[in-house]
């Protein structure tokens, strides 16, 4: 037998109390105040004889009661071997080790401590137990499936590394919930080892652990943290003499309790430090630093570095510094016509994005005319030549945009697949009054910006003449005239888009060009067709990169539409920052998960020595916020059962801890009850003896 609190045996001295009571019971300490002891002093004092103990039964009851109470407070338990102890505590365990490997775990020694805690638990796994190692960041994965092999678990823990992921607890807890729910073992435990970043937990994400399962949080976080992070970069672009210049402003946040003074902030472009500035930031505040303007001619890798601290990953901010490129538009109009005046004027006004337009007649359009074009506009044009039409087909199929403006002329043959719908004759609307637009698909990106009632009234546009257009079954009608006939129809062709407009863009058939809606609608339509998208200077870890983004960029740069189709096939590889390669495009992945901090390089086949498309990836800004959630609060909100909250104690040899065994056996309770019962019996016996003998109990 062992005792949890053997020091309580000092209380056995209390056994002497009843013995002393028996021995000196006659000498009571009652003090009586008396006026004068003049006479009492004269009487010789006779010491009271210490009486013999003659009621041994009563004495033994008192002594036994005292001894039992002392033994109860000493918390005795019977030591048993581990196997029996495990059986006593409910049998084998199913343990899920949830190890946080998010970027914030790279702070100081957090990761090393987390690995050590996980290793302890792995070492405690017995022969009948099973444990699963789950590594989690934004998502969760089973690094080691349920096993009793502590060695495997330990090796996997040692091999695990901090990722660039943000912290999300819900996926890991749901995975643990799933594993524990399926487990047939009687004891179920999930151990969450993390820094318990507050930003990683949404309280509404309630997890339902199976009955009896215990969630044990182990925090490796540090109460006081200091962290400087670069959170953003802003570009201020200006154009001067045909050159684009950019002023960079980096945003920094100090999440520490001390002021950061004169911190060097470096700007690196293509691996070379081009400028260094200094910044001072108050505690828990943000600051910014601007770098002088620089000329941007081609996409460049750029990095902002701001010193180093316990979490170096967020002291670096990657981005791609690219020049803004205008949307190149080829306008084709009929010989001798001047129908493109309003259109080209409208395109010339555009700044975001800028448009660069060129007007050609059909006879002058060659396949090379589509090089470096994003959009082709057939503005009431006559049919192109055969080669040019084929090149146009390829251009559109590979992602180019085609805008067909319909007037009296027929731009292409009836068999052409590019034209969305079947052309009909021109319809005079003056006979029935002028026509107007009666329906707009505001869910479409072109009209989405006009959804607000105050953003434009298309019904004010008067149409005098329209071209009959019957959309095909796969075509999408974006706008209709008030008589129900199609006004704007879209067709998807390959990677490209084609939109037909059943009236002209000059004043011959309508007054649209002189309406205020003309300019924005032309910009919206051409941008949509050119699949223009402001290039992302950086992405956040965890985002998925759609491969169409680099492909579209290459198209904008004129890589598509070339005669050599094999060389321009949109497929290629993505090189991750860690050096691994992922095939994309045709025959490969259509999307790549950006899981690492750094630069991804996208290289399409057939681009020769052209610089690869760069994608910069940074940590989720929330990872820089190291404020932690109290573990008790976390478990309470995670499970909705505060009662199952564990204290975060180590689970190493949990079956063998004396506290657990003592708690399970609860021997103290029986001793306490026996002692109390003895005291009660003693009171009864003492009372009867007192009445019988009429004096004390000795």
């Amino acid at each position: 037998m062992s005792f949890l609190a053997p020091l309580f045996f000092a209380g056995l001295a209390a056994v002497a109390v009843p013995i002393l009571v028996h021995l000196i019971q006659r000498e009571r300490k009652t003090i009586i105040a008396f006026p004068s002891l003049m006479f009492i002093r004269r009487i010789p004092y006779q010491s009271v004889e210490r009486r013999r103990i003659h009621n041994w039964f009563l004495l033994m009851m008192r002594v036994a009661a005292m001894a039992l109470l002392v033994a109860a407070f000493a918390r005795p338990f019977f030591a048993v071997d581990p196997v029996k102890a495990a059986a006593a505590l409910g049998g084998a365990r199913e343990v899920v080790i949830l190890l946080d490997r998010s970027a914030s775990m790279g702070y100081g020694d957090h990761w090393a401590r987390a690995q050590a805690e996980a290793k302890k638990i792995a070492d405690s796994i017995g022969g009948a137990d099973r444990a699963t190692l789950v590594l989690f960041g934004t998502g969760a994965e089973e690094a080691v499936r349920a096993t009793s092999d502590g060695g495997r678990l330990g090796a996997a823990i040692a091999d695990a590394k901090v990722s660039s992921d943000a912290t999300r607890y819900a996926p890991a807890l749901r995975l643990a919930q799933s594993i524990l729910t399926r487990s047939p073992l009687p004891r179920k435990q999930a151990v969450l080892i993390s820094d318990f970043q507050r930003s990683g937990w949404e309280k509404q994400e309630e997890i339902s652990m199976p009955d009896g399962a215990e969630l044990t949080p182990i925090s490796v976080g540090t109460p006081e943290t200091a962290n400087l992070s670069v959170t953003s970069v802003k570009f201020q672009r200006t154009s001067f003499q045909g050159e684009e210049r950019v002023v960079l402003t980096a945003g920094l946040t100090n999440r520490g309790a001390t002021t950061i003074k004169a911190q060097d902030v470096k700007l690196e472009v293509d691996g070379r430090v081009v400028d260094t500035r200094q910044v001072s930031i108050d505690p828990n505040a943000s600051g910014s630093v601007s770098f002088p303007q620089m000329t941007v001619a081609a996409p460049m890798r750029a990095v902002i570095r701001a010193g180093t601290d316990a979490l170096p990953a967020d002291n670096v901010f990657n981005f791609v510094l690219s020049p803004s490129r205008p949307v190149s538009v080829l306008v084709v109009q009929a010989e001798g016509a001047a129908s493109s005046l309003y259109l080209t004027t409208a395109l010339g006004i555009g700044t975001s994005p800028p448009f660069k337009s060129e007007v050609l007649t059909p006879s002058r359009v060659t396949p090379a005319s589509f090089e470096k074009r994003s959009v082709v506009i057939l503005n009431d044009a006559t049919p192109l030549g055969t080669q040019a039409e084929e090149a146009l087909n390829r251009f559109v199929t590979q992602g180019g945009g085609l805008f067909v403006v319909l007037g009296d002329r027929t731009p292409m043959s009836a068999a052409a697949t590019l034209l969305p719908g079947k052309l009909g004759p021109a319809v005079e609307r003056l006979r029935t009054g002028t026509g107007t637009l009666g329906f707009l698909d505001h869910s479409h990106p072109i009209f989405e910006g006009f959804k607000d009632p105050k953003s434009g009234n298309f019904s004010v546009i008067r149409f005098f003449k329209v071209r009959g257009l019957t959309p095909g079954p796969t075509d999408k009608v974006l706008a209709r005239f008030d008589d129900g006939s199609a006004a704007m129809v879209e067709r998807a062709v390959g990677s490209g888009r084609v939109i037909a407009f059943a009236s002209t863009l000059d004043k011959s058939w309508n007054d649209f060009p002189i309406q205020h809606l003309f300019l924005p609608l032309v910009h919206q339509t051409v941008s949509y067709l050119g699949q223009y998208r402001e290039p992302d200077a950086w992405y956040v870890v965890g985002r998925t990169l759609d491969v169409s983004v680099p492909i579209a960029a290459i198209v904008r740069e004129g890589g598509a539409g070339d005669a050599n189709t094999a060389a321009r096939r949109p497929s290629g590889v993505v090189m991750t920052p860690s050096g691994s390669q992922v095939t994309i495009g045709e025959g490969g992945a259509q999307a790549v998960e950006l899981a690492e901090q750094g630069f991804y390089s996208v290289r399409l086949q057939g681009l020769g020595d052209r610089k690869p498309f760069q994608v910069a990836v940074n940590l989720d800004p929330t990872e820089s916020d190291l404020s932690s959630l109290p573990t008790a609060e976390f478990v309470a909100t995670a499970t909705g059962h505060a009662a199952v909250t564990a204290s975060g104690q180590s689970l190493e040899n949990p079956n063998l801890t004396p506290e657990d065994i003592e708690k399970k056996q609860a021997v103290w309770w029986y001793l306490f009850a026996a002692g109390a019962a003895l005291l009660l019996a003693e009171a009864v016996v003492a009372n009867r003896l007192s009445k019988r003998f009429g004096f004390g109990l000795s």
Binding site: I32, F34, P35, S36, L37
Partner: protein, 302 residues
């Protein structure tokens, strides 16, 4: 507790006074001063404390007519003086800590205060001068005898608290020096001293021809010693503790106390000192009535 407008008035309980108002406290010996009423006086004279005028009535001593007033008013007025008193009553009250003992509701000091106030009131009504000296290990307060000091005496009684140990013999020696004129001296104490020492200390009072009365106030527990359980007894005055087993001690104690009281009574009688032992459960009026009746009888004999 019953309240009274005059402090200490509770000590002159009307129930007590109803029994003794017809009795007179007669001085056994002639004391200095003028005699009016029942007192006998060796000298003729007048009090010097003028009180008031009253109209002349036939039979009044013509020498007491205020002629100056007659000259101003053309009417006869007789001067009256404050005190027709002839005797000094001085009460020596023991307020030592042992007097605070109470086995029941009334402590010895309370009982003694009742007794002193009753005597004072009675004397005041007889126009005697009353005074009081309270003492423990020293003189606590002293009120010289005067016809106007009855209220002061009551105040003194009211303030008395048994707080300090007492030195009865030393205090009796000291207080004897206060008496220059013949007085009725009343000693109220629990008399925890040797009877012979007490009588020795009272001798000076006798030599001044004072009329000496000793009230020996005790608590019933001090006489009957009703304790049964072995305890430690603590001396109220010295704080000394003595283990006592009453079943062994009680009989001896009672015998010693009885012997003490008897010795005091015998020695007082020998010295012509009136002695009365009172217990705090003894009705005060009965005790006074018995004592004063006894005193009157003795006076007549003399």
């Amino acid at each position: 507790m019953e309240t009274h407008a005059l402090p200490g008035a509770r000590f002159v309980d009307p129930k007590v006074l109803a029994r003794i108002k017809d009795l007179s406290l007669l001085a056994r010996n002639v004391v200095d001063g003028f005699i009016n009423g029942l007192h006998r006086a060796p000298y003729f004279g007048a009090s010097v404390d003028f009180a008031e005028h009253r109209g002349y009535v036939p039979g009044d001593d013509i020498r007491r007519v205020d002629w100056k007033l007659f000259a101003r008013t053309d009417r006869y007025f007789v001067k009256q003086y404050e005190a027709d008193t002839n005797a000094n009553l001085v009460i020596l009250l023991d307020v030592s800590k042992s007097m605070g003992f109470a086995s029941d509701e009334v402590s010895k000091l309370q009982y003694a205060s009742f007794l002193a106030a009753s005597l004072g009131y009675l004397s005041h009504r007889q126009r005697d001068r009353v005074g009081i000296i309270t003492f423990d290990e020293d003189v606590v307060s002293r009120v010289p005898p005067s016809a106007k000091h009855f209220n002061v005496m009551l105040h003194t009684l009211d303030r008395s608290k048994a707080e300090r140990p007492g030195r009865l013999i030393a205090m009796l020696d000291k207080m004897a020096e206060f008496f220059k004129r013949r007085s009725i001296v009343v000693l109220i104490s629990d008399l925890y001293e040797s009877p012979s020492d007490i009588l020795e200390a009272l001798k000076p009072y006798r030599s001044l021809n004072n009329d000496l009365v000793v009230f020996h106030v005790l608590d019933p527990a001090e006489i009957s010693f009703p304790y049964t359980e072995a305890s430690r007894f603590q001396d109220l005055e010295s704080g000394e503790e003595v283990p006592v087993v009453p079943e062994v001690f009680a009989e001896q104690y009672r015998a010693m106390m009885k012997e003490h009281i008897a010795a005091l009574a015998g020695k007082c009688a020998e010295s012509r000192i009136d002695y009365l032992q009172l217990t705090t459960n003894q009705p005060l009026d009965e005790a006074l009535f018995y004592y004063l009746g006894n005193r009157e009888r003795l006076m007549r004999v003399r």
